[in-house]
Amino acid sequence: MAVIEVTKDTFEQEVLNSDKPVLVDYNADWCGPCRMMRPVLDELAAERDDIKVVSINIDDEDELAEDNDISSIPCLVVYKNGKEAARNVGLVPKDVVIDLIGG
């Protein structure tokens, strides 16, 4: 699967109501580290059937960013069963993202 772009209209359905763990990438076009992060997310989306990978552009979706206490990007948040299970701020290598997703 590819990385899915999520907006405030689709957040509940794609993230909170997902039956698989969801890795959410909060990002922006102007953010260099976010752009460095993106290939890792594309790879994970392609490799892992057991998770869903989504992207939220914080400039377009400022309400989502505010509601979810995002104040620094790149910010990766893992949601399991509609709840935040883990979070990481800043650029990290793929191994760290895999650990963040967990079992």
Partner: protein
């Protein structure tokens, strides 16, 4: 066994790799995070020769592609130790260990932390080390900047355009940064200077709610803030290599313009070296010098 292992794939490390590959040396680059180094945070580079404007991301991408095309190998593993075994050096990473004839340390620097309890947990929940990266989250909010150098002054000016109120907290009563910037700040109505003071406590629930500031008379004031931008300088990341490379008091590698450390065959390049000017172009320049010295050193082994 590689000819040269380079620790750190920022501008210094990747430039060193280019020079080493062009001298037909085998090269392994070890990087803890992602290639590019801190330059990827810069939206627009305007002071690198030839390109009038280029984003830090594009710069890093181009440099990576150039380095890769020349045949340098990259591994994304944090190096934790260098063992000097004479003509052979072993670099230990979190995953494995690798040997080479020469090693170039190009690990750059990282943001200095405030050192106040709870700081790490609040990164991305109110605490930031990069105003241009995260300022947009604080539109019409109340923020504080800590520091007295140019970065702190520039951060405060940048945030003054976005935020409702900016407190600038500094432990002395005058700034190390340029007076012109300090003057501009004094003219801004929404900037409040909090001098002779340090941040002594962070109050948070889910995210940062307020900070406590203690002045030199020991008086404590609580400031309600949504964000705290820490701009108290940078620190080199050389501690793991202190046994093979002498460090100065601040932790920078004591290597001169020839990039040689106290250990033959181990070199330092870029922001982690003792130097006056830490810029993109001087990092690249160090990479060229260190690689050339490493190639010379390898030739001397035979």
């Amino acid at each position: 066994m590689y000819d040269i292992i380079i620790i750190g794939a920022g501008p210094a490390g990747m430039t060193a790799a280019i020079y080493a590959r062009r001298a037909s040396k085998s090269v392994l680059l070890l990087e803890a995070k992602s290639y590019g180094g801190q330059i990827i945070n810069t939206p627009d580079i305007e002071n690198y020769p030839v390109e009038a404007h280029i984003s830090g991301f594009d710069f890093a991408q181009k440099l990576y592609e150039q380095t890769k095309a020349l045949g340098a190998e990259f591994k994304f593993e944090k190096a934790v130790e260098i063992k000097d075994e004479g003509d052979t050096k072993t670099v230990v990473t979190v995953k494995d260990s690798y040997t080479a004839k020469a090693v170039i340390i190009a690990t750059g620097s990282e943001n200095r932390k405030l050192g106040v309890e709870g700081e790490d947990k609040l990164v991305g929940r109110g605490i930031s080390y990069c105003a241009t990266c995260d300022g947009a989250f604080y539109r019409n909010k109340v923020v504080a900047v800590v520091g007295g150098g140019n970065t702190a002054l520039e951060d405060a000016l940048y945030l003054a355009d976005l935020a409702q109120t900016v407190y600038l907290i500094h432990r002395r009563d005058e700034f190390r940064g340029e007076e012109a910037n300090a003057q501009r700040l004094r003219e801004r109505e929404n900037v409040k200077l909090v001098l002779n003071s340090t941040v002594t406590k962070l109050n948070a629930e889910k995210r940062l709610k307020s900070i406590e500031v203690t002045n030199k008379n020991g008086e404590v004031t609580e400031l309600e803030v949504n964000g705290l931008f820490v701009a108290v300088g940078r620190v080199p990341e050389n501690q793991n290599f202190a046994s093979v490379a002498e460090l100065d008091q601040a932790g920078y590698v004591a290597a001169s313009e020839n990039c040689r450390t106290k250990t033959p065959g181990i070199f330092a390049a870029g922001d982690n070296r003792v130097k006056e000017v830490r810029q993109l172009v001087t990092a690249a320049s160090d990479g060229a010098v260190a690689a050339t010295e490493a190639v010379k050193y390898i030739a001397s082994l035979k």
